[in-house]
């Protein structure tokens, strides 16, 4: 009992210490906090009314974002098929699926924006680093999902086809694939939707797409134009969410 009381006291002290340390070492003064209200109001005021003359840029940027998401997803699928097979417990030996699963977890742990920044450094500005970053980042999740789809196949129909004398390819096509296909389709569409959403902001680090215009307009103090682009992004995210809801209903 005493040790438990000491434990909660130590935890409370640790949390309090962490908060005090953050305040003490960050440049947060009371006057700045108080004055930030009017400043934010001023900033928002300069965003209105949104400048709708940037429609061309919005369409161009959205189309590029769409292309990045499509090609990035394609790249992720191409990488995930072999990696998913190698990461599956039913298709690969432990010497294969254990390290591959660790690698995939490592890839998932790296934030997309970081990968995009590194890729901009490596291959230069434009949509190409965005596509590479999306393909790399999405593979961490998609290959894991593919492996789970393979491992989720019920073995009973496989035994039945083996008993009937079906060869390995016929078994793959008529017992394994019909069980896997809906899962693979659902996971791929889900990942495409995530890719589209995440690639909206890739332009902020120079990796192409509509985010590039937000960055450009904010840096050049054209807040009314930035507001239009931001609104367009919000509309697209809501639209993607709507499509997602419909698709989820279809695949559940």
């Amino acid at each position: 009992m005493r040790s438990r009381g000491f434990g909660s006291f130590a935890a409370a002290a640790l949390v309090a210490g962490a908060i005090l340390w953050s305040f003490a070492t960050t440049d947060v003064e009371l006057s700045r906090i108080l004055s930030s209200g009017p400043r934010i109001a001023n900033f928002l005021g300069r965003m209105f009314p949104p400048d709708t003359s940037v429609m061309q840029e919005i369409i161009k940027g959205s189309a590029e974002t769409m292309r990045i998401a499509i090609l990035g997803t394609l790249g992720a699928v191409l990488l995930s098929v072999p990696l998913g097979l190698l990461a599956s417990e039913t298709m690969a030996p432990p010497a294969s699926y254990r390290p591959i699963r660790t690698l995939l977890a490592f890839i998932r742990a790296i934030p997309l924006i970081l990968v995009a920044m590194l890729m901009v450094g490596a291959v230069g500005l434009g949509p190409l680093p965005g596509i590479i970053a999306i393909a790399f980042h999405a593979t961490g999740m998609l290959a894991k999902f593919y492996a789970e789809a393979i491992d989720g196949v019920s073995p009973a129909p496989l035994a039945a086809l083996e008993s009937a004398g079906a060869g390995p390819f016929a078994r793959l096509r008529y017992a394994i694939w019909p069980q896997m296909a809906p899962v693979v389709a659902r996971d791929t569409i889900f990942r495409f939707e995530l890719n589209l959403r995440e690639s909206l902001i890739l332009g902020v680090v120079g990796a192409g797409g509509i985010g590039f215009y937000i960055q450009t307009y904010v840096r050049s103090f054209q807040y009314d134009k930035a507001a239009s682009v931001t609104l367009a992004v919000v509309v697209m995210v809501v639209a993607i969410e709507g499509v997602n809801v419909v698709l989820r209903r279809r695949f559940s």
Binding site: L161, A164, G165, A166, G167, A170
Partner: protein, 260 residues
């Protein structure tokens, strides 16, 4: 009369999984016979049927199925597999495929490898599949997906898939244990009738003595991986059946016995 299966002194030591042990099992089944394997769960019925289907390894003894000896170290040649049909307790159907597709899956071993992979059944494959569906009373369900069917309908599909193989020997592992009594009798009626019409031998397992008595010509009692009795159905006594299930409730798992 020709012998459908000849089993001499077969033993199997279970290797930790779900499979039960077999101890010195010998049995001879004549072509065209309908034989029930009766016994409590854990008696080794599934192990025995799986062995005859050529899907078990590392057993000892001599087994000949439809005139072909089984090799405990190698799976049987694919060419012989369609001759032996297997009906699974839990149906083992591809849930998202249609009824017809599942029944055609039973033809895969009879098709040329190319036809099998490209999913191009010929006229004969389709006719055999349709006949099997009609015999199982589910011709009208051909285009339905299996996951929309009831348990009784699913077992009809599984039997139709087995019949589509044109088997000479049908092994049925507790084919009706997951169905209610009315459904169970219906399924066993159509299975035994279809087998008789085709001249196929049937070996089905059950833990229900009344089903064995009603549908088989011969009853083989199994307990603890051994054959306890082997009698014509008319000679099946209440005592022998009761003996089979004696202590069945408190009988320890075979795995425990093996440890001791």
């Amino acid at each position: 009369m020709t012998v459908a299966t000849q089993i001499d002194d077969v033993s199997f030591v279970h290797s930790g999984g779900d499979t039960r042990a077999l101890e010195h099992v010998s049995l001879s089944v004549q072509a065209g016979e309908i034989v029930a394997l009766l016994g409590p769960s854990g008696a080794g019925k599934t192990t025995f049927l799986t062995l005859l289907d050529g899907r078990l390894r590392d057993w000892r003894g001599r087994v000949s199925v439809l005139g072909t000896p089984l090799d405990p170290d190698h799976p049987p040649l694919r060419a012989g597999r369609p001759d032996i049909g297997f009906v699974f307790q839990e149906f083992a159907l591809v849930e998202r495929s249609t009824v017809l597709r599942n029944v055609l899956n039973g033809r895969l071993g009879r098709m040329s490898p190319l036809r099998a992979v490209f999913g191009a059944p010929d006229a004969r494959d389709l006719r055999v599949a349709r006949d099997a569906l009609a015999d199982c009373g589910i011709a009208d369900l051909a285009d339905r997906r299996v996951d929309s069917l009831s348990g009784g309908q699913r077992q009809r599909v599984a039997i139709a898939r087995c019949l589509a193989q044109e088997p000479r020997l049908i092994l049925a592992d507790e084919p009706v244990s997951s169905l209610d009594p009315t459904r169970a009798a219906e399924i066993l009626t159509l299975l035994t009738q279809a087998a008789r019409a085709r001249g196929a031998t049937v070996l089905f397992s059950s833990h229900q003595p009344d089903l064995a008595r009603r549908f088989a010509q011969r009853v083989v009692g199994m307990r603890d991986g051994r054959i306890a009795f082997d009698v014509p159905t008319s000679g099946l006594s209440e005592d022998a059946t009761a003996d089979l299930y004696r202590d069945a409730a408190q009988m320890p798992a075979i795995g425990l016995r093996a440890v001791i």
